[in-house]
């Protein structure tokens, strides 16, 4: 239950960070909030010899704009994102997910970059990021690259980020008029809870305020990775927003879900809940898109 010994590095720039990561390879781990890493180290599940802290690098803790995109800094905490005024419209999904993570103490430490790189199937910030079409911005020895988030998650705790790479940001489309988000989470208790099922939804309406221009639904805890529901998206695009369309999308989402049974709940129940929560999250997103 004690932390194993390690060296701590505090690079002052992304370049320096990459150098340290390159030096130590798989012996190095990046630390931001430490809410997962330190717990796993105390339990002996991980024993990196080198921890690389990012607090010395400027610019990783803000929301910036870039060519019609928002760039969310990876060191932003769940608390900061939950309270951010810049995440309006569909982007509100991220704020809603961040607000439901852990407890106030955990939210003050846990970062969005950590949440994404830890890649848990029920991660409260990953599921919303998927409906926003977020891209992971990675810096590495071979230069920067971008990866859509649904290609970034490979399995529980596994991502496409290589050991020498660093997540420098998450790029989202700029909030658009007539868009809104919803987030639904089912757990046993109201805080400090890993979702049994969580669902994020985002809707972009046509100027008529009725027709769905685009909609995305993402599901958590029902597959090895947080996942988008293509069936739900197809069921919604071009449809008139409302209960009927949402019910069809919910059914499609339940079909797309690939839950398993474990000690937290059965696959059958999770599938049922996906349907209910999808319908509710879409209703919430629609209301938000209408500015209500």
């Amino acid at each position: 239950m004690l932390l194993p010994r390690f060296s701590y590095h505090q690079p002052a720039s992304v370049a320096e960070a990459l150098e340290v990561l390159g030096q130590h390879g798989d012996q190095a781990a990046i630390i931001a909030g430490g809410t997962d890493l330190l717990v796993n180290m105390k339990h002996g599940k991980l024993a990196p010899r080198h921890l690389v802290g990012l607090e010395g690098i400027d610019g990783l803790e803000e929301i910036g704009a870039d060519n019609g995109s928002l760039v969310v800094g990876p060191r932003l905490t769940a608390s900061a994102l939950a309270a951010s005024g810049e995440l309006s419209g569909a982007a509100q999904a991220l704020a809603l997910g961040a607000a439901s993570l852990g407890s106030p103490q955990v939210r003050n430490r846990a970062t969005v970059g950590g949440n994404v790189c830890t890649a848990r199937p029920a991660a409260d910030m990953c599921v919303p990021l998927l409906v926003l079409g977020a891209k992971a911005l990675l810096a590495g020895p071979d230069g920067p690259r971008e990866l859509p988030l649904d290609e970034f998650f490979l399995g529980p705790g596994q991502t496409a980020k290589k050991p020498g790479e660093l997540l420098t940001g998450l790029s989202l489309p700029r909030p658009a008029e007539g868009s809104g988000a919803g987030y639904e989470k089912l757990g046993l208790r109201k805080a400090l809870e890993i979702a049994l099922v969580n669902v994020a939804a985002a809707i972009w309406l046509e100027p008529d305020g009725k027709t769905i221009k685009q909609a995305k639904v993402a599901l958590g805890a029902v597959a090895p990775v947080p996942m988008l529901s293509p069936g739900a998206e197809a069921a919604l695009t071009g449809q008139t927003a409302g209960e009927e369309a949402f019910a069809q999308a919910a059914e499609a989402a339940a079909t797309d879900a690939k839950p398993i049974s474990d000690h937290r709940g059965s696959a059958q129940y999770r599938r049922e809940v996906v349907q209910v929560l999808t319908r509710r999250a879409l209703g919430q997103a629609w209301q938000a898109a209408l500015g209500q």
Binding site: M1, L2, S103, L186, L188, R189, K190, A191, L192, E193, I194, L196, H263, G265, S266, Y269, E272, V273, V276, L277
Partner: protein, 785 residues
Amino acid sequence: MGGDYTVVGSRARRLDGPEKVTGKAVYLDDMQFKGMLHGAILQSPHAHARIKSIDTSAAEALPGVKAVLTAGNVPDTKYGVSPARYDENILAIDRVRYVGDEVAAVAAVDLETAHQALELIKVEYEPLPFVLDIDQATAEGAPQLHQEYLGNLTAEVHQEFGEVARGFAESDLIRTDTFVNKRQDGGFIEPPRSVAVHDLSGNLTLYSSTQVPHYVQRTIAMLTGLSVGKVRVVKPYVGGGFGPKASASPCDILSSLLSMKTGRPVKIAMSREQVFLHCRARHQFKHVMKTGYTKDGIIKALEHTCYLEGGAYSSFGIATVYYAGSLLAAPYRLPHMKYDGYRVYTNKPACGAQRGHGGVAARACFEQQMDLVAEELGMDPIELRLKNIMETGDVSCNDLSMSSLGMKECLEAVQGGSDWNAKKGKLPPGKGIGMAAGFFVSGAGYPIYRSETFHCTVTIKVQEDGGTVLVKTAAAEIGQGSDTTMAMIAAEAIGIPLEAVRLVSGDTDYGIDLGAYSSRTTLMTGHATREAGEQVKEMILTALAGELGVERERLDIKDGVVEIKGEAVDFGPLRTKYLKEHRGWGGMPSGDKLTFTEAARMAYLKLGTIVGTGKYKPPVLGGKFKGAAVGTSPAYGCSAQVAEVTVDLETGQVTVDNITDAHDCGQAINLTSVEAQMEGSVSMGLGEAMFEEVKFDDQGRVLNPSLGEYHIPTVLDMPRMRCIVVESGEPNGPFGAKEVGEGAIMPTIPAILNAVHDATGVTITELPITPERVLMALKQKKRDE
């Protein structure tokens, strides 16, 4: 209700409040000793295995390691909780019986070295077949845990009171229902830990995060061979106990032995994971109850069978299996009751006592069934209960005597307080209201070991300056507020303000106190404290009567001032003497009344140090049948609760919106503490009802050994609460007081279950009430319709 009290019944600020909220309170982890070593315990990774060999040589050779203990170099004395079932070894001898069984212990210069040393101990195990549930454990040819207790039975109980067959013959409605709860964790904030200091005079002082310094002292003396007088157990501030800390822990025992071996202080602390592995918390109970009622709703007979899944050792299990039966005999008149109880060994951590010991799941089953009976009879659940409740003076079929019982007052209080009549049967789908009642002992009638010992002794010394008194009690303040309660009782008994009382507690050097369990402290230690206080008051007033030349009967002390009945008495010389002693001091007594301070100083000058002593043990209680002692108590608290819930009919998720809670505590000593106990009980009951379950994999390993994955309620999960304190005035209690610590948990689970039934029409008979369980039941109901 109650008398004309000055301190008792008030909302006094807790004595420990300022230290705790400022973080200055000293808990065990804050304690440092010169040369202190750190201990660690090696635990079995197997649910059941033979130990073929242990090689400690590499661990002993590691620099910084000062001692390594295994079964080979510690006494083979068996111990446990009840002397009738001492079935534990200090360290495993030849065999481990659960994942977590203690195999070896080390002491080293720091914790890191101690952990390294554990990794260097080579244990060769031969895995054995194991049993993880009651069915496996009781199957023919099942692997046996203890050769002394074959059939994997720790204990079985067979009791019949009255004639059950006759009771059923007189019944019009007979229902049989089953109920299953889940193994719980205590969920206290502070995991068990200890520091043992064996000094050069051969005395052992053990600082321990315990509920029961006295029992720990006895166990340590028994296992170390030291005389009881040479073992001192001191309890610093403790972060909760709830039952699992009511016996000596491996930290206590192994730190003591390691300190004796090394001659240095040794600290051992459990991690949160080890708390789950050690357990000693609530058993899993399976109840089957067949109950007969007349068509008018009068209970005639109960035939009850209970199986307890107990884990690898007995711990409190014998008492638990008795409590699971005996506590159903009240608070309703039940003329005929049959009980068959079985406490079964399994290859899992041992279960023990937890808040509402043995009675919580039984109460849930009985009260849930009562609501189903009410439904069948077309009767309001409160009306059904009012028809059956016992009253003050009633004695149960198993000889439990209700010296006070405000059950009717509690039921009426929650009926009115929740606006029951306007809501019951009138809420929309998905909204429900339910209620339940319960009762509990106010202190176990007998100690855990057979003895005529006093259950507590208290000393009150009047400080020689006369201004303050010092209460010394070995009672265990573990967060429940007993320090403040005892100080208040002392102040009331002497007639002085609370600020004039200092108190020290939780140290076996201060006397006998059986500890914080069975909701005993307020009544029992309260009696002893009151007696000591009254003795002090008597000594001072007798001395004062002599000094002033008046009859003793004319004198009294109230709120720190001496009251003299009848014509005025000149106490001028006494005051002058006091003022002369304090020439140049501020804040001296003035006015036309003699102060307690002056009177007490005068008494000291006459008699020397004034010391009062108090003691308490209950009178002989209970019947003559086997197991009659379990359930006896000098008094019983009782309670009723109404729960209001919202059920999400699409997901099955239940939210408890409101709980109206009435509890008869006899007389509140500290009203705020009484309410806090009620709220704490509801929180714990709500957790057990809604979330809590220690889960195991198929190898007997705990799946959720952390407070992240084992869900206890957060503040956001708590309902709005309305607490109504009922004061029936208990003749056997100090100032009329009795328990609130455990009885208040009894109605919570069934009240929530009954509210869920009201909201949905489904009956959940297995805890916890997870969304999945509720949704599946809703679907089943739809299919049945």
